[in-house]
Symmetry: C2
Subunit: 111 residues, 2 copies
């Protein structure tokens, strides 16, 4: 599995897992978090490898669809970026005050 894709799916799973079914959540957890193979999951649940594969792929598509609609991961990254900028300004002197306030306003404008 490509590392970058795995990281993204893990994040999306974090944000949207409450919208999945129990079965979807279980497969995703075993596959992505506990790193079991499709075959191992299939064996554990007494279903075909193909069934697990289809379920996982469908869930990934659902997660990307939710992200397209709600942008929670994207907004999260934007906030983190702002907070990091804020932190860099924290040690500054008074001339930074205006910058700080602008950043805070930006933060408030996001959901």
């Amino acid at each position: 599995m490509m590392l970058e894709k795995t990281t993204r799916i893990n994040f999306l799973f974090d944000f949207y897992q409450s919208l999945l079914t129990d079965k979807q959540r279980q497969y995703m957890q075993l596959y992505y978090l506990e790193d079991l193979s499709l075959g191992e999951i299939a064996e554990e649940y007494g279903v075909s490898r193909q069934a697990v594969y289809d379920n996982v792929r469908r869930t990934e598509t659902m997660l990307e669809d939710y992200e397209k609609k709600l942008n929670l991961f994207d907004k999260f990254q934007q906030r983190i970026e702002i907070v990091e900028q804020l932190e860099q300004l924290m040690t500054g002197s008074d001339e930074h005050t205006t910058k700080l306030k602008n950043l805070l306003n930006e933060l408030k404008d996001r959901e």
Copy 2:
């Protein structure tokens, strides 16, 4: 309509409208944002008042269900609260630095 409930529904609509159908979005917009009556909406769409009522009530329930699962409105309020505390500390002297950093960490811990 009770003002407090209307405000809450407006916020939930803001956060979750992308998950609604076009029809649900239209009715909610007319009823809550443009303040049309159920009867006026029914007339505009050539349906019964009861049909509009049922759709709007069902949508409200859906919005509350999404909030139970994703807590976007709740998390948003929490962030706003933190940002307001941060702002109050902005004018402070050096003894506030630790407080500021704690608040920023809190902010980062939220999604």
